[in-house]
């Protein structure tokens, strides 16, 4: 265990560190996020959410899965309660994720609050050092990049960006799986890590067809953590 007071700049599992590295490593995936932002904006506007509400949602909820779920539930006439429940389940993972990155988010309370809002799956994943700790610069740089991409995409979408075509036409849905796979690869340095990954994947696969979206992800983390503790 390293001394927390020591100003050690240990690199991420993917090799780099610092704010600029975070921006650079997140830019390509930011393009995919931007395209999905456009898609969300177009869809939200078409479903009668107006212009400002989708923008406020992208600035506060900042979660593609959650926001697409809201539009889909509201469009199907599922009601506000169902939409809120679905969306919250899909962001619940940010509770453990937020605790895990807490040591990397320093400064006074307002600063920590603001920085916490930029934490997203992709920034969390690229900033991980492979030992349960996270590199602050990469976390912030990647988070800001994805945040701005998502907002600018939403903005173009609600203002009529439906000329761009669907993100799926460009295979951008597969880009996220490949990114997470590449980052997963960098963390598989021990037998325990491989076990955690296999259990996480298995739990998610089993639960996708039988639970509400969001629950497979939460259950995967809990299940794998249980296995980790015993290992």
């Amino acid at each position: 265990m390293s001394d927390p007071a020591a100003p050690v700049r240990r690199a991420t599992a993917s090799g780099g560190s610092g704010f600029r590295y975070g921006v650079r490593v997140a830019l390509p995936i930011g393009l995919a996020v931007w395209a999905f932002g456009v898609s969300f904006g177009v869809l939200a506007r078409a479903e009668g959410m107006g212009i400002i509400a989708p923008l406020v949602m992208s600035l506060t909820t900042f979660s593609g899965a959650s926001q697409f779920a809201i539009v889909s539930v509201l469009a199907d006439g599922g009601g506000t309660g169902a939409a809120i429940t679905a969306a919250v389940l899909l962001v619940a993972r940010y509770l453990p994720i937020g605790v895990s990155v807490a040591p990397a988010i320093t400064g006074r309370l307002p600063q920590r609050f603001v920085r916490s809002q930029f934490v997203v799956d992709e920034s969390w994943a690229v900033a991980n050092r492979g030992d349960g700790t996270f590199e602050p610069g990469t976390l912030f740089g990647a988070g800001v990049t994805i945040y701005v991409s998502w907002f600018l995409g939403t903005l173009l979408g609600v203002l009529g960006g439906d000329f761009l075509g669907e993100p799926e036409d460009f295979g951008l849905d597969a880009a996220f799986a490949a990114l997470f796979l590449a980052l997963l690869w960098t963390t598989l340095k021990s037998r325990r890590a491989v076990t955690a990954a296999v259990i996480g994947a298995a739990i998610a696969l089993v639960l996708v067809p039988i639970t509400e979206p969001g629950i497979p992800i939460i259950a995967a983390s809990i299940g794998a953590l249980a296995a980790w503790r015993r290992a």
């Binding site: 265990m1 927390p4 993917s14 490593v25 939200a44 107006g50 509400a53 989708p54 406020v56 949602m57 600035l59 506060t60 509201l74 506000t80 919250v88 940010y94 509770l95 994720i97 937020g98 605790v99 807490a102 040591p103 309370l109 609050f113 916490s116 809002q117 934490v119 799956d121 994943a125 991980n128 030992d131 349960g132 036409d169 295979g171 951008l172 849905d173 597969a174 880009a175 799986a177 490949a178 997470f180 590449a182 997963l184 963390t187 890590a193 955690a196 990954a197 996480g200 994947a201 998610a204 696969l205 996708v208 067809p209 639970t211 992800i217 995967a220 983390s221 794998a224 953590l225 980790w228």
Partner: protein, 101 residues
């Protein structure tokens, strides 16, 4: 207030709080070693779940579609120790190409 605004404000507020809890309450502090140790396992577990859900998930069902082809090609790049960006671009490109067939 419209339904859209109600959902926007409630989910937005809840998400902002969920994201803030850890960094606001514990920010900058070293976590107990046991917790850091657990998070070491959380990373591969969550990443593997993301891979599976993003590859096979389609709402509340599992499907095998063009994404799998792209992801497998991306995996080949990763296994050959190619750069991460190349893996992502190959996965997207092949998936897009397969969809045009």
């Amino acid at each position: 207030m419209s339904d859209a605004w109600l959902v926007t404000l409630v989910v937005g507020a809840v998400t902002v709080v969920i994201r803030a809890v850890g960094p606001v309450l514990l920010g900058g502090r070293q976590l107990p070693a046991q917790l850091t140790n657990l998070f070491e396992g959380l990373v591969p577990a969550l990443l593997a779940a993301f891979v599976v859900v993003n590859t096979f998930g389609s709402g509340q069902s599992l499907t095998i579609d063009h994404r799998l082809l792209g992801v497998l090609a991306g995996a080949a790049v990763i296994a050959a120790r190619g750069p991460m960006l190349l893996a992502v671009v190959v996965a997207a490109g092949l998936t897009a190409f397969a969809r045009t067939l």
